[in-house]
Amino acid sequence: MIKPKNMVKLSVFGPKSYMKKVIETMYNMNVVHIDDHTKKSEEDFFDIGAPFKENEQFADTLVKIRSIISNLNINKGIVKKSATSIPVIDKKTQEVYEKVNYLLKKQEYFSQIKKLYDKTEIQKSLNSLKIDIDDNVDYSNFTHYVGYIDQDSDLLKEQIEKITKKYIMHSVNYQGLTLVGLFVDKKKKDKIKDLLKESDFSPIDNPVLKEKYDLKSSAGIKFVKLNKELETVTNDLKKVENRIQEVKDEHTTFLLESEKLLSIESEKAEAPLRFASTKNTFLVKGWVPKKNSKKLEKEIKNVTNKKVHIEFHGPVKGDNVPIAFNHPKIVEPFEAFMNLYSLPSYKEIDPTFFMFLTFPLFFGFMLGDVGYGIVIFALFSMLKKKMPGAKNFLNTFIIAAVVSIVFGMVFGEYFGYEAFSQTVGERLQLTTQPWVLETFHMHPFESHGHTVFPFPHIFARSHNINDLLSLAILFGIVHVLIGYIIGFVNILKAHGLKMAILEKVGWILLFPTVIYLLTDFLGVVTGFVKDLLVPLIPPMPFMIGLAVLGVLMIIKGEGAQGAVELPALISNILSYARLMAVGLASLSLAVVVNDLAGEMFASGIVGIFSGILILVLGHTINIALGILSPFLHSLRLHYVEFFTKFFKGGGKKFISFGQLK
């Protein structure tokens, strides 16, 4: 639990004819972290392997599928891999790919035109088209078409020539669109009209044309007013968009499932790139969790008739062993915090379990409100359904929310309210068993001229600020001390007993002095916590002796840097005062909101509404702060105050070959 999984180094060596089977077995077992082979120098005997030939086809189809997925904005969910055979996928992908590309092109064309539908833009585009009016031509025999087409102008020319030789065509490329001015024989009007329709001809309307040219004959396609034309284009665009949506709905499952299958196949086919190979042999190097190694060996030997050589070695010094966490299910969410910071190195103690213990504790201690805890619990349970990808991260909040509820009960806080109303309180005093009143401190007290009937609680933090501060500091002392103890174990394993004692025991020897400074000298820690801690302080001369010895050991162990860091011990521990500060700030804000709303409620019908508004708004803000602030501060106490006592980090993640499955 506090150690990553035990790893052994794996080497598989064999003839290339068995490579595929070995890859298949490793992929299915999903337990090998492959160390990629790199050719360091020309003398290196091994080359990097070549991917299997079929990979080209996989990659080709995969690129197409991915481009469709991204073009259609398909959300990647969790899907199973496709059961369709790969040639069928290839064929279908090609079809969908062409269809989608065609539609997307159309969509772009129409939206471009739509953008241009503004009078000055049209005039500008028309100006770019040079139409030479030839005086020798009798234009009354011609029909004219001026507008955009979704086609290459040369291609259109060819098609027109098949219909008639009697035509004049001008064309220009305007902002990525083809703008044509076409004069054709009036007799061939119908055929030309059909042809233009095929290339989605979008005409420029007559009034604009008339301003520029004196074109007498009427156009074959009826020109309409500017707005009308825009409407048509909008409709066309809409149609194309609907069509795209249909295609998307129809093929989403196919695309996602095929993407998965092909990604898996392609990863397998590319695996030789990570191997060392010669002309006829291959060598895989990597890491396997020790408990899986026997089974892996057996499986590979089975499929290859023992024609492949397998070797396992324990890790030696200097190996960069990949880290696979080894936690029970409930601790797993907290791995997210390690990924955020740095993974522990292989020999180090993995602090995730300690974070699991103390992170929710600190969070709950700061938030400490039953109402807020329930809201956060419900909120993050809901989010978990919406975003399964962030499950781990959200689970940390859910665990922390549960602890907040517990602390809320201890503190007797419910949405910032701490006391019953007068009538309920009085009745409860009469009906409740005396021992309950006693245990849960429900006795009424006078405050600002009112009698207050507090909710059942064990420790009211708002009335015992000094005790709360002392408690927070106590958390700090214990937490930092645990940090040094873990540090001791880490150094013991890495550098031996002598270094461990010099570097970490030195700090631990300072603790009696620190406790003395915090209690008697500074007076920060008071009340029952002080009574708890004072017996731990040895007689003065002995305490000073320990401190001096400790300082000497630190200087010997860590050098001048250690000496400079001495005062940091106190400031680290005092830093835990934030446990009190953040909590009280959140409580105070809640109380202010409640009081404001309470005054509003007393002032009539309008007041009730504004009171509700204030309650909702105020508590929403406070909950948002109540998620963010305790989270950050709790995290910080771990990263800064706790981890710096022992954590080196720098491990690399265990990525098993076959994870896509």
Partner: protein
């Protein structure tokens, strides 16, 4: 109610407020500079989040000390 609070208690309260407020400003000034640099570094290399956070929050001990002093001063008034 205001009449019940003497000048001495008032001065203690002001002292506590100054201790907390000034140290908070100091922390803010220090964290501003470090935070900017840390975010810049993170934009280049995301793995620096942990280190960036640690460096950014180092000045926070100033305000924590301020808070502790404020509480100690308030203790005088009681």
């Amino acid at each position: 109610m205001a009449a019940e609070i003497g000048v001495g208690v008032g001065l203690v309260a002001i002292g506590a407020a100054l201790a907390l407020g000034l140290s908070a400003i100091a922390t803010a000034m220090a964290e501003k500079a470090i935070g900017t640099a840390a975010v810049g570094a993170m934009a280049e290399k995301e793995e620096l989040f942990g280190k960036g956070l640690i460096l950014t929050v180092i000045p926070e001990s100033i305000v924590i000390f301020g808070l502790v002093v404020a509480i100690l001063i308030l203790g005088l008034a009681a």
